[in-house]
Amino acid sequence: MPIAVRRPRHGPNWARLAALVALFAVTVVAIFPLYWLFVSAITPTESTLKIPPDFIPVHASLANFQRLFVQAPVLNWLLNSVFITLAITAFHMLFDTMAGYAFARLRFPGRGAIFAIFLSTIMIPSQVTLIPNFLLISRIHLVNTPLAVILPGFADIVGIFLIKQFMQTLPRELEEAAAVDGATPWWIFWRVMVPLSTPAIAAVAIFGFVSSWNAFLWPLIVLQSGKGFTLPVGIAAVGRGEFTTDYGVQMAGGALAAIPTILFFLMFQRHFVAGLRVGAVKT
């Protein structure tokens, strides 16, 4: 096993201790903004906007959340976010997996070229398509609708890559046996490949969920009316003082937007890291 800080044979393990202390220090700095988000969400503004602030929530209450729901159409934002995120995640799961299967297992003219073109699109910044896509979405009258966010988010090249890499590691025997029995690729895809690929599909779902829940710039552009916002767009408006200038209420909104991805990550942590590894240790 490669060990950067080697364990000496005798005496206290100072190197390991130093590594631990350094990592804990980094963790505290990394986690603090999240900690403060939740503390200030459940603490009256008088206790957080003062010098020194109450670093521990001694006056905890849900009053900020109550006022948030009165002052801004948060319930609409929440529903929009949930609908858009679920739709995009479902699209990614279906279309990424289908495309990944085609690249991993099916043979057709231009396969390598198409895959290379797909991969190179990673380098195209989404800002290049921002203006034309906005013009397109306005011309087909989808501005302010969830579809305006969902349609351009139909698939994800990284997800396709991940599925392809994963499927290439699967043994071919089952497919070949099914093919000998006259099964079509469609049947093989649904009955053999999809069940065997659940870890990779789970990773695609997780990335799809987190990235579409957190998406900001594109929804900000195509969702322009208060009730049509997603949570991040709404929270940004709240943060700019458009619905309330109450700091505690702003942080309550932030906490509300942050909770789903945090819970999601904690629940599916293992798939998350496994998925990243499939992508990282290439071919």
């Binding site: 490669p2 950067a4 800080v5 364990r7 190197a15 390991r16 990592l23 980094v26 963790t27 990394a30 986690i31 999240l34 988000l37 200030s40 906007l49 003062k50 279309f95 990424d96 289908m98 495309a99 085609a102 099916l106 043979r107 057709f108 003219p109 231009g110 390598g112 699109t121 380098m123 195209i124 910044p125 800002q127 290049v128 398509t129 921002l130 203006i131 034309p132 896509n133 906005f134 013009l135 397109l136 139909f154 690729p185 957190n214 900001f216 710039l217 900000l220 552009i221 991040p232 943060g239 702003q250 932030g254 906490a255 937007a257 991805t261 990550f265 942590q269 890291v273 240790v281 071919t283």
Partner: protein, 310 residues
């Protein structure tokens, strides 16, 4: 890999006539499975990229739409604001990417070094939590940390009888504050990626180095780092692409101000195209951004290429 009309695995290919049908059939299925993605990419990616290029040579706004040749690019050349946003973006990207790559290697090595699976999982989770949290929300907290009157940083400085510093409202400091907020967010993706590649280095290499009497530091530089080159490239490119597109946190923390002190290129595109309806000019800005990202990625690939294969 890109052999035209490859007929499946040669060993399995049946008689001549059958194989043509089979090849056609397989092609049909291949395109069928790709169809949704091909259609989607065509409508929302390939056509828009070309459209963007075309728009950049026109003065398309809300009403006019006339061919303008290189006018947009010429006005960008002479626009000090455009150059300023490019400098802002480059400075932000340079610092953030260098720090992200360095920090993620060091943290991955430290995690590896403590040699405990449980602790490794704990630290990775702790690093990931802020990374999966909505950036807009994290930026709200940073806005408080930097607040001149109530913020955490000025409170801490006050304890040392220093400050107060106008972190976000002083034009000469604001960009550095934004950079600081990014730098202090752990590059979780990099840490996990480096952990995976450090973990996949064969142990024999280290044993061989042991036999040669190499210490931990020379093993690190002579075995680990050279083998990590492809990962450094991969992580570097990914962070460069995302740093060039920074928007969310700046929109929340400073709205690009004070003045235009923290306006990155993407915010300029947003302001020009979406807020002010100058679609042609905004497209020209986007094309330049695209060219820069492509160029930087290419240079990074060249620099670190050696044993990298895709």
């Amino acid at each position: 890999m890109s052999r035209p009309l490859a007929l499946g695995r040669p060993g399995l290919a049946p008689a001549w006539q059958g194989s043509w049908r089979r090849a056609l059939e397989r092609s049909f299925w291949g395109y069928l499975f790709l169809l949704p993605v091909l259609l989607g990419f065509a409508v929302f990616l390939f056509v828009p990229v070309l459209w963007s290029l075309w728009l950049s040579f026109t003065n398309t706004g809300l009403v006019d739409s006339e061919w303008a040749g290189l006018d947009n690019y010429q006005s960008l050349l002479h626009s000090s604001l455009f150059w300023q946003t490019l400098r802002t973006t480059a400075l932000y990207t340079g610092v953030v990417v260098a720090e992200a790559v360095l920090a993620s290697i060091v943290l991955a090595a430290l995690i590896q070094g403590i040699g405990s699976r449980r602790l490794a999982t704990f630290f990775r989770a702790a690093f990931f939590l802020p990374a999966v949290t909505t950036p807009v929300v994290i930026a709200l907290v940073w806005r408080w940390i930097f607040n001149t009157q109530w913020g955490l940083l000025n409170y801490l400085l006050g304890l040392l009888h220093l400050g107060p510093v106008k972190w976000l409202s002083d034009p000469s400091i604001a960009l550095w504050s934004v950079i600081l907020s990014t730098v202090l967010t752990i590059p979780a993706f990099g840490v996990v990626t480096f952990s995976a590649s450090i973990g996949s280095i064969p142990g024999e290499l280290y044993e061989a180095a042991d036999l040669d009497g190499a210490g931990p530091i020379s093993k690190w530089w002579r075995v680990t780092v050279p083998l990590l080159k492809p990962t450094i490239l991969f992580v570097g490119v990914i962070y460069t692409i995302s740093a060039f597109q920074v928007f969310d946190r700046i929109y929340i923390m400073t709205s690009g101000g004070p003045g235009f002190a923290t306006t990155p290129i993407v915010m300029l595109i947003y302001n020009t195209g979406i807020s002010n309806w100058h679609f042609g000019l905004a497209s020209a800005q986007a094309v330049v951004l695209f060219a820069i990202i492509a160029l930087v990625s290419l240079v990074q690939f060249r620099l670190l290429r050696s044993d990298f294969e895709y």
